[in-house]
């Protein structure tokens, strides 16, 4: 299978959107699932990327990635007509989609990409969707139109106020919880953002899903590298997740584990990702 790139667009300084041929994955994928990608079969690393969208007729899936390490750096240089060496999936447990009632979808930075198909599916299932997206500044807001088109209420936040409201996504989230308690919240973004979203909703007892992006090698439950504490249980993000109850996640351990390979000199994508995301959210 040749995973040719059929479309490429730069969404912000370090964020790219590509469409890749993968007909079986396009057909089978559900909101919340991801693929493992490699750019070189011999020495490349396997990186998890959420499936942002799919076109069954065209046989393509949409991937959105941020340059954070060697693999994403090289991926950003590929053009239409080039191909990815490996795209395998769809992996992970799909989001449980049903009519909850009022749901709030919170997306931060690159996390808006995986949130998009979920918000789409929730809207389609008849939920009243409020969407809050945020980033450091205006240039880092991605998929604004797409997200707005599927939301009943739409709020943009930036740290510097260059777009929408000035401030963190947790502020409007708290207001909503206070004024008109939602039936469910789903938050996807940097771990620190998800942690604080979970902390925000907890006093209001609002079920809050988060999508974790742990370090993985195989993505099929084999290596155990992505394990997280969920309540008193150990779960694997790749097969049990990536979505979990945000109130049960041991955030400190989860965030610490993202830094596991930090002292290694090699190109460790994940730690750079975590750093950058944390930085972005500060």
């Amino acid at each position: 299978m040749k995973h040719s790139i059929t479309f490429k667009k730069q969404l912000s300084e370090a964020v790219y959107m590509i469409k890749v041929r993968a007909p079986l994955i396009a057909e089978g994928r559900k909101a919340g699932q991801f693929v493992m990608v490699m750019i070189d079969e011999d020495f490349g690393e396997r990186i998890p990327l959420t499936i942002a969208d799919a076109d069954v007729a065209e046989g393509t899936i949409t991937l959105i990635f941020q340059i954070v390490g060697q693999t994403t750096q090289e991926m950003s240089k590929l053009n239409v007509g080039d191909a990815l060496a490996v795209v395998v999936g769809p992996l992970g447990t799909p989001t449980h989609i049903k009519k909850f009632g009022k749901v709030v979808c919170v997306g931060g930075g690159i996390g808006i990409a995986p949130l998009h198909p979920i918000a789409q599916a929730l809207a389609k299932a008849g939920n009243e969707v409020t969407t809050i997206i945020g980033a450091r500044d205006k240039s880092l807001i991605i998929l604004e139109e797409e997200m707005q088109s599927i939301a009943n209420n739409f709020i943009v936040c930036t740290d510097d106020g260059s777009a929408g409201r000035k401030g963190l996504v947790t502020e409007p989230l708290e207001e909503i919880c206070k004024q008109d308690k939602p039936d469910m919240v789903i938050a996807i973004g940097p771990p620190i953002m998800m942690k604080f979203c979970a902390l925000t909703t907890k006093p209001y007892n609002v079920k809050t899903l988060v999508s974790l992006n742990s370090i993985m090698v195989d993505g099929t439950g084999m290596c155990g590298g992505c394990r997280v504490d969920i309540g008193d249980q150990v779960k694997f993000v790749c097969v049990d997740g990536p979505e979990f109850d945000g109130h049960l996640v041991n955030w400190d351990n989860m965030i610490a584990r993202l830094n596991a390979f930090k002292p290694c000199e090699s190109n460790c994508r994940m730690h750079k990702a975590a750093d950058k995301k944390a930085e972005e959210y500060k």
């Binding site: 299978m1 079986l24 994955i25 089978g28 490699m38 070189d40 079969e41 011999d42 020495f43 490349g44 690393e45 396997r46 060697q70 693999t71 060496a85 490996v86 795209v87 395998v88 999936g89 769809p90 992996l91 090698v217 195989d218 099929t220 439950g221 084999m222 290596c223 155990g224 590298g225 394990r227 997280v228 504490d229 150990v234 097969v239 041991n250 400190d252 351990n253 610490a256 584990r257 830094n259 596991a260 390979f261 002292p263 290694c264 000199e265 090699s266 190109n267 460790c268």
Partner: protein
């Protein structure tokens, strides 16, 4: 066992060979049993501990012939019964003794698809060699004929001399078979079903073939080139190979039947689910399942820091928990990746370890420490959530348990701390749930292993299973034996 360099082993073998070669035909059983056992030549321990080169070098021609002469060609041939694929052991050994290596290779090929692999990683001391009459007569199982070493010699000779022939394929039947997983079980099923003329597609979730032989067993014990070579034969036979395809996710079993039109399916997805100890501190930074540690190093080639993108954790003091072959592989890999100190921690003593004696000896030679009668109670972290130390508790051996091994009993108040920065958990694997979770009709036991009948048929018609997904974590050769059985059943099923 002290180290003897390969040259010296060969000089000795040549002397013995010169003495015996002319009187081979007249050798009596008693005389044969007096021929000195040929040791496997290996790389010098200190030198090999720094690289991924294969440790065991393999017999020379003379060593192989001398070792083959030790076989007394007994009538009962108990060794064959000990082999899961029923290799005609005395026959091929006889040909080696005669110096007719091609004939030996031809005999092996009738029953084994992967002799270069089996000769290297089979636990022969628990199988063919366990029953060897020579070993029994000498009252020492370690003195049995070196069947595995001889098998490897023949396979390597054949590979080097490029004399392998592609097995004949029966007339195309037009029946489609999907084989899931390219580990030892899947490879055997693919070959055996293809030989019967079926249209076989082999699916692999990873980007490289071989299953546990690729991601688990390290290069220094089983070189990837050998795995590649043995798999290339399948390709030549016309087996279709599809990598990066996760059955259960990319397609379910049901879809393979209904949409893709497969007439029969074999599940050989292995035991890829790491088991943890369930103790405090197991999620600290620096704690790895052996699966992750070895997959990074082997499949992702992280040992090659110059080329590989996948990072490897930098360790100084490593603790490996467990006493099986995986624990040996992980500890020896950690040494090769530059750890200053590697300690295998085991509740019983070395004598009770499930690892092969040879692997334990190799690890010891290379400088791995063995902390016997000890177990980890807690893993202690520092302020950055990194492993800092282990709390160890001591054991003594009590009465034998169901497995016949003496049960380890905790000694009260014997806890102490040792400094470590890395912990590798190698206490076993469960079955990978990806296929079973998405195939509700597939019956499994409480461990998640697929339930099959004697022939390897599952609860779903036309779906068969074998290898570790049925057995729980076992060995390459047992998986191959299971594959052979299942292939027979599949071929029979498709005839009806």
């Amino acid at each position: 066992m002290s180290y003897i360099c390969p040259q010296d082993l060969n000089v000795k073998a040549k002397e013995v060979f010169a003495d015996l070669n002319n009187k081979q035909d007249s050798l009596k059983a008693k005389e044969r049993m007096q021929i000195p056992l040929q040791e496997m030549p290996v790389l010098e321990p200190k030198q090999r501990g720094t690289n991924q080169e294969e440790v065991a070098i393999g017999f020379t021609k003379e060593q192989a012939m001398v070792e083959a002469m030790r076989c007394i060609q007994c009538k009962n041939k108990p060794c064959i019964k000990g082999c899961p694929v029923g290799l005609k052991i005395p026959d091929f050994i006889c040909k080696i003794a005669e110096g007719d290596f091609q004939a030996a290779a031809d005999i092996i090929q009738q029953d084994s698809l992967l002799p270069a692999i089996c000769g290297r990683v089979c636990p022969q001391e628990n199988q063919c060699q366990l029953y060897c009459t020579v070993g029994k007569s000498l009252k020492d199982i370690d003195k049995a004929v070196g069947i595995g070493r001889l098998e490897r010699f023949v396979a390597d000779w054949q590979r080097k001399n490029k004399t392998a022939v592609i097995p004949t394929i029966a007339k195309e039947t037009g029946k489609k078979i999907a084989v899931i997983g390219s580990g030892p079980a899947g490879l055997v099923v693919s070959a055996d079903c293809r030989r019967a003329g079926h249209d076989v597609t082999l699916f692999e979730a990873f980007h490289k073939l071989g299953g546990v032989m690729r991601y688990g067993i390290p290069e220094f014990r089983l070189p990837n080139d050998i795995v590649d070579y043995e798999i290339a034969n399948l390709d030549k036979m016309g087996v279709k190979i599809v990598k990066n395809f996760v059955v259960g996710k990319t397609r379910t079993i049901e879809q393979l039947k209904s949409i893709d039109g497969f007439d029969a399916i074999f599940i050989g997805t292995g035991a890829g689910l790491p088991i943890f100890m369930g103790i405090e501190g197991e999620n600290l930074i620096g704690v790895f399942a052996a699966n992750e540690y070895l997959t990074r190093a082997n499949l992702m080639r992280a040992y090659d820091t110059e080329h590989a993108d996948t990072p490897m954790f930098k360790s100084k003091k490593v603790a490996v928990l467990g006493g099986g072959n995986v624990a040996m592989d992980a500890s020896r890999m950690a040494l090769r990746l530059g750890a200053e100190e590697v300690n295998v921690i085991y509740r019983r003593t070395i004598a009770e370890m499930p690892a092969r004696k040879e692997e334990v000896a190799h690890a010891q030679e290379e400088g791995v420490n063995f902390l016997e009668l000890q177990n980890v109670k807690r893993i202690l972290g520092d302020k950055d959530s990194k492993v800092r130390a282990l709390e160890i508790v001591c054991y003594e051996l009590g009465e034998p348990d169901n497995s016949g091994r003496r049960r380890p009993v905790e000694i009260k108040n014997s806890e102490f701390e040792i400094e470590m920065d890395t912990v590798i958990v190698a206490i076993g694997n469960g079955s990978n749930p990806l296929v079973t979770q998405t195939t509700p009709k597939l019956k499994t036991d409480k461990r998640g292993n697929v339930i099959v009948d004697e022939a390897g048929a599952t609860s779903i018609e036309g779906v068969f299973a074998g290898g570790d997904i049925v057995l729980g974590a076992a060995t390459v050769i047992l998986a191959m034996g299971e594959g052979r059985k299942a292939a027979k059943a599949i071929n029979k099923y498709l005839k009806n």
